[in-house]
Symmetry: C2
Subunit: 112 residues, 2 copies
């Protein structure tokens, strides 16, 4: 991304769309977290389900290590929450917007 003028970002971002740089970054991060097949599988799997890492790995067909890595990403962006019960940690969706995003995107691919 290269600038063509000497305008500071704060000015240019207000030209259209009314999105601050911070908002744009956060939006990008939100879409990015769902743009990986492993993470999306996990998100879909956790819709209406509370599962431990082993079950998540089993249900999605990925290794437990890979699942753990991606769950940390999902956790850091507050897409999933976790609850420890003994040795196990149960994960579930932490935001109804996630299901909504998946739903709208599903409608999109169905209609195009």
């Amino acid at each position: 991304m290269e600038t063509k003028t000497t305008l500071p970002k704060s000015v240019k971002n207000k030209k259209r769309g009314a999105l601050t740089g911070r908002q744009l970054e956060d939006l990008v991060e939100t879409f990015k977290v769902l743009s990986d097949p492993t993470r999306l599988k996990i998100a879909v799997t956790l819709t209406n389900n509370e599962l431990c890492v082993h079950d998540i790995a089993d249900a999605t067909g990925i290794s437990e290590s890979a699942a753990s890595h991606q769950l940390r990403v999902l956790r850091s962006l507050r897409l999933v929450k976790h609850r420890r019960q003994g040795k196990q940690i149960f994960y579930s969706l932490d935001d109804h917007h996630i299901e909504k995003l998946i739903q709208v995107a599903t409608e999109h691919i169905a209609e195009r």
Copy 2:
């Protein structure tokens, strides 16, 4: 993404979530196209606007070449449509779901 069993994908994907492999790929692609700052800027800029490449580049602060490259990506996924008028080509959003996705994601980042 590695398998841990000998189950074919078609079986494993039906365990939970009821998403086919094709649907998952399309969903991933949809989120991925919005997970790049340049493309997201363009999408936001084109909300309620029909603009030519030069204006898109100007409004988003990216080079015309970069804009053109990304517009092709957006076009290939049917997120934008184009209309030629003389030497200029005007782009606009081709799917109301895109605005909806941006809206829901914006709500998400505002509440977390």
